[in-house]
């Protein structure tokens, strides 16, 4: 597996409502290698921002040579990114890290995304959907957080929200438990707030289901060089940027 630095041209960078954006860029090198669950480090243009921003790959459109990223504006870097327009050039580094286990067959899979955790799941669903049976539980803070589901365009999606304003009024973990009561799930993939992933993993472990979680840490290098994103695992200190961001839940939770 190789990684690259690539100047990519922005094809589209649209606001999906509120603070949520969908970014499409033309890629030649990174697109050849990147896989579901991996991420890129995007260089902000403002030179006062010296660290690259880690953003997961949302969709790999090999046919058109287009990479898609789904992001939320939270600070200076993502805010700057949201001001860029079609034609602008950004420098991205990737693919980075280890993604989801996608070489699987004939499994019943639950994929659970909370908020921005939905970002890496489109590509994952695309990859595993054909040869497995997938149910996708999506939770979010407000209606805008669900706009991305149109882009994911996956029929077996269950939408839940805490206040019931959209979809069912429950959280993703409750929904997962409900499904487990009725169905036999063999694998769980999840990405979202850490507390949510912990609870999902707990359910998975209790039910003896193999589970992968995608973690987030502040990053310096993205290559395993700076030890900035290290976490303790059952297999010793691991780097979220290199050994993850996707981990077997048993290694990193409880």
């Amino acid at each position: 597996m190789a990684a690259f630095l690539e100047d990519v041209k922005i094809i589209e960078n649209i606001c999906l409502g509120s603070r949520y954006y969908l970014l499409k860029v033309k890629s030649e090198k990174i697109i050849k290698e990147i896989k579901a669950g991996q991420f890129c480090m995007i260089k902000p243009l403002d030179n006062a921002l010296i660290l690259r921003r880690p953003i997961s790959i949302h969709n790999i459109d090999k046919e058109n040579g287009v990479l898609e990223f789904y992001y939320e504006t939270v600070g200076k870097g993502t805010k700057e990114l949201s001001t860029l327009k079609a034609g602008d050039i950004i420098n991205i580094q990737g693919p980075l890290g280890e993604g989801f286990s996608i070489n699987i067959k004939d499994k019943k899979i639950a994929i659970i995304g909370g908020g921005m955790g939905i970002a890496p799941l489109k590509e994952l669903i695309k990859q595993v959907n054909k040869e497995n049976k997938v149910v996708f539980i999506a939770g979010g803070r407000d209606k805008y957080a669900f706009e991305i589901l149109k882009n994911i365009n996956f029929k077996n999606t269950i939408v839940v929200s805490d206040d019931g304003s959209i979809g069912e009024k429950k959280n993703t973990v409750e929904k997962l438990k409900e499904i487990l009561e009725k169905e036999n799930i063999n694998m769980i993939f999840t990405c979202g707030p850490h507390i949510m992933m912990e609870k999902v993993a707990e359910v998975a472990h209790k039910n003896n289901i193999y589970c992968e979680v995608s973690l987030e840490e502040r990053m310096g290098c993205g290559t395993g060089a700076c030890m900035g994103c290290s976490i303790e695992t059952t297999k010793g200190m691991k780097k979220v940027c290199k050994d993850g961001p996707v981990f077997n839940s048993k290694e990193v939770i409880k």
Partner: protein, 304 residues
């Protein structure tokens, strides 16, 4: 003819460009982007006798044109380093390797030096007495002139390898400490380690870093680093390994003009992983344009 050829305190290097400890991992993390053997030397991540997990909580914060880290010297310890890391390095790495050596006590520094001294493949030792992220040893040593002198002397006694002592910028009078360290047997001075800094999360009403304070590096610190290189050049006769915020060929030249015989690239590699290659090419071009015999012609030129 290679105009970048440098002998840095006894270490023969094809160019004066090194990596800064802690920003280039264990030497191979950037191999996807360029061949690390183009470097004059690789300075490895800080090593200790025993394995260290480093500090808990958030370890990285960005600041205007800079960053804070509170890694806390995470490393697998000497045994793993010798038996595994070195083997992996020997497979692919042909350029000079420099160990960044740390201890909690003077005895630990000495013991680890004795062990490192036996590894032929290690070209030199960067003695880190300036890490701001550990409770014992580290900066507390480097900031105390007496202890800085003592640890240098004792380490010197047990190794013939080139000994580069890395100093903390968080002191009142760095020239004084540098001179003492020289007098006690150092072959070179590495400056600067990180400044001590802090970042605050106003939403959480907490420091951003788990360890509260962190080491401050990146382009923001360059003015302080240049000043210190300039001061120390006046104070000592041994060569200087300059670093602190170098992000371009121009920056590298500035450090050399201020007095650095070689420079380390650190934080800015995160921003631009191709920086080392660009600086080596840039210095080559500079030598040609300025018709220098060797890049060393500009070392300390500001003082002339």
């Amino acid at each position: 003819m290679n105009k970048l050829k440098t002998n840095f305190c006894g270490i023969d290097m094809k160019n004066p460009i090194m990596t800064a400890s802690g920003t280039f991992g264990w030497g191979k993390e950037y191999s996807d982007y360029f061949d690390p053997n183009v470097l004059g030397a690789i300075v490895l991540k800080g090593l200790t006798l025993e394995p260290r997990k480093g500090n808990p909580g958030t370890r990285i914060a960005e600041t205007p044109s800079g960053m804070l880290n509170s890694i806390g010297l995470e490393n697998p310890g000497f045994e793993h380093f010798k038996n595994i890391t070195m083997k992996e390095l020997e497979e692919d790495i042909s350029t000079n390797l420099i160990v960044n050596l740390n201890g909690k006590t003077i005895e630990e520094y000495v013991e680890l030096t004795e062990k490192i001294d036996k590894i032929d493949r290690i070209a030199g030792i960067e003695l880190n007495i300036s890490c701001p992220n550990v409770k014992d040893g580290g900066m507390a040593f480097g900031a105390n002139p007496k202890i800085a002198a003592e640890v240098t002397r004792k380490v010197r006694e047990v190794t013939k390898k080139p000994l580069i002592v890395k100093l903390s910028p968080n002191v009142t009078d760095i020239s004084y400490i540098a001179k003492l360290v020289e007098d006690n047997g150092a072959d070179a001075i590495a400056i600067i380690n990180t400044l001590l800094g802090m970042a605050i999360d106003i939403e959480k009403k907490k420091p951003v870093l788990g360890n509260i304070f962190g080491g401050f590096s990146g382009p923001a610190v360059k003015p302080v680093a240049l000043r210190i290189v300039y001061q120390v050049y006046k104070a000592v006769n041994i060569p200087i390994l300059g670093m602190g915020g170098i992000s371009s060929t121009k920056d590298a030249i500035e450090f050399m003009m201020a007095g650095a015989s070689a420079v380390s690239l650190g934080t800015s590699i995160f921003t631009n992983p191709l920086l080392p290659v660009e600086v080596i090419e840039g210095l080559n071009k500079y030598c040609k344009e300025e018709k220098l015999k060797n890049i060393s012609d500009i070392v300390g030129i500001l003082h002339k």
